[in-house]
């Protein structure tokens, strides 16, 4: 069959999602506005086949809106949504082929567990015998083989969570969407379910988008994390990337315990910088991005466990004052203050050497793996 040039070009545009390596779902400049306020975007996201991608951020950052746009529950104001290269932007949820697990599970209270899980299959007109087999198999996968005849209110929170997962998975969606599925569980169960969820996801190899505000969850479970803040993407990367090389002030502060100290870049060699944090105190740091030449302002990011506390005679930057000391048992957390009046934290093992240090005393600090973030990007 011969295709004319414009038709060919149009189909190529339509297949854009396919051109990017293995991108199952592509969000192309998605914007959501309510009246004149922009709630989201513009946001570009590419979801790879089989990965668990987490949307991480504080409440109101747009992560749930993004998820609802993907599920079709919210219509984006602008932009395009491509599922395996097909434009699904204006497709209603029933035709989208997405499995969504709600924060409160949203199980049908008047239906048994078996009926809840069978719901999506019935809507797809799957033959009865097949429904029975698939429901039973799904219940085994989520580890609840004997609850099919019970009602949702007869199950515990953790069990309901698994049923919600089973209900979303049984329809074999092209993408599984999880909207803070663990936040209604108690702390212990939450940790257990993280591993279990991840295990099921990997076993089935299902592409998953996971929304959470909990960075531990994000780090433990994800292949990639998208950090969001006030409707925009701050940073995309592996959990290690995000923790180790935050690109913005927000990323540094949101993820892990971080202390930020401002200073001027005085020397540069490749990625290695020397930053003056005031009163001539020089700190070596590594630039997280290009374009941080001599004379530019920089934010140094340190983590408490990466600062070594030094006392007289040891090799460190002297002149730090202990502002606060918190004894935590196996570790001691110090709040240190630079001569310029900037604070940072330092966590040391609870050994004799540090145990008697009191607020007000002068100590030194040695910074390890300090990161420099450009001020302009904060």
């Amino acid at each position: 069959m011969l295709l004319s040039a414009p038709v060919l070009r149009r189909s190529l545009v339509r297949l854009k999602g396919f051109n990017d390596v293995q991108s199952v779902l592509t969000l192309d400049k998605i914007v959501k506005r309510y009246g004149t306020t922009t709630a989201l975007g513009p946001v570009d996201i590419q979801v790879k086949k089989g990965e668990l991608l987490t949307l991480l951020g504080p409440s109101g950052c747009g992560k749930t809106t993004t998820l609802h746009i993907i599920a079709g529950l919210t219509r984006p104001t602008e932009g395009q949504l491509l599922l395996s290269g097909r434009d699904i932007t204006s497709l209603a949820p029933p035709y989208r082929d997405m499995g969504l697990v709600f924060q409160n599970y949203a199980l049908f209270p008047h239906r048994t567990i078996g009926q809840n899980i069978a719901f999506g299959l019935r809507m797809r007109k799957v033959p009865k015998d097949e429904i029975t087999t698939r429901v039973r198999r799904m219940l085994e996968i989520v580890g609840l083989p004997n609850v099919a005849d019970r009602f949702p209110h007869q199950l515990s929170g953790g069990q309901r969570q698994r049923v919600a997962l089973a209900r979303a998975l049984v329809i074999e969606p092209s993408i599984l969407l999880l909207d803070e599925p663990l936040s209604n569980l108690d702390a212990l169960l939450r940790k257990k379910m993280r591993l279990e969820l991840r295990e099921i996801q990997q076993r089935l190899g299902i592409t998953t988008i996971f929304v959470t505000h909990d960075q531990d969850e994000a780090f433990e479970m994800s292949d990639r994390v998208i950090l969001m803040n006030s409707g925009n993407i701050e940073q995309v990367g592996s959990p290690e990337d995000l923790y180790d090389r935050p690109q913005t002030r927000f990323a540094a502060q949101f993820i892990g315990e971080a202390s930020l100290i401002e200073g001027d870049v005085v020397e540069r060699e490749g990625e290695d910088l020397v930053v003056d944090i005031g009163h001539g105190l020089l700190v070596p740091a590594r630039a997280v991005t290009a374009g941080m030449g001599r004379g530019t302002r920089a934010i140094l990011m340190t983590r408490p466990e990466r600062v070594e506390l030094t006392i007289a005679g040891e090799d460190g930057i002297a002149g730090m004052r202990i502002a606060k000391r918190v004894f935590q048992g196996e570790r001691i957390l110090f709040d240190l203050e630079t001569p310029g009046g900037q604070n940072f934290q330092c966590s040391v093992p609870s050994i004799e050497k540090y145990r008697d240090l009191k607020p007000g005393q002068q100590v030194g600090a040695r910074f390890q793996e300090c990161r420099a973030i450009p001020v302009s990007r904060s």
Binding site: A71, P93, L100, F108, I171
Partner: protein, 285 residues
Amino acid sequence: MTQEKGHRSAPFAAALLAPVSILYLVFLIVPIGYFLAVSFLKYSPERLYLPELTTDNYRRLLSDGYYRQIIYDTFRISAIVTLFSLIFGYTLAYFLSRMKSAWRGILMFLIIAPLMTGVIVRTYGWIVLLGSDGLVNRLLIGLGLVSSPIGLLNTEPTVIVALVHIMLPYMVFPIFSSLVSQDPHLVPAASTLGARPLRTFFEVTLPLSRSGIVMGSALVFTLTAGSIVTPELLGGRNVTMLGQTIYQLILSTFNWPLGAAVAAILVVCQFSVISLYFRKMRRAY
């Protein structure tokens, strides 16, 4: 499920229940027991009733075509009124439950407002509208659709329309509350699982509002079956329901035993509707 919680406060709860229990006993149970007893006594034109046990009153009611027709009409009209109240009430309640809060308050008030005026006032309102010199007839004549006033009053359809109007709030509120108490995520959940809007309604929303439907229907049915003023004023001689019959037998004909028997039949039917409602509600989910 929740009953276990109340154990420790049982004596206190019982104390709170005392006043209303006494009220019900003195002003409901005792009078009902009294007329039930009277319904089994013999009628006497001079002394209201004679202390002589008989089932004649019931036998007469169930064999006399006049009374049988009234019993049949009452429950037929009540069923029709319940059905129409349900159709209009459900759509209204559904609409209310899905709308933005500011407008919802105003509309709720408009639905409650008629309850604040008496049933007689509302019934007279219908007479003003439907009388031979009423608004509807004037409009019909003005439009040239009819040449002389048509008889809208004293017909059964008019009684039914007015009763549906009067009973609507009793249907709307239980259904409304059963709709707004549903988890708002259930509908989107069903839709992501592949259910189109109409399917979602019949699979999820409607079955979960069953308690409201049963409650509203039980209320409307029993209230309609016991109505007096509306069928009397709008139905005239053409519509007679049990309530009017009791009124006539007790206060005009002074046949207390027969009136009591009619009342007993009405009360038994109403109770069976209510107990049906409670049986439905006990089914757990």
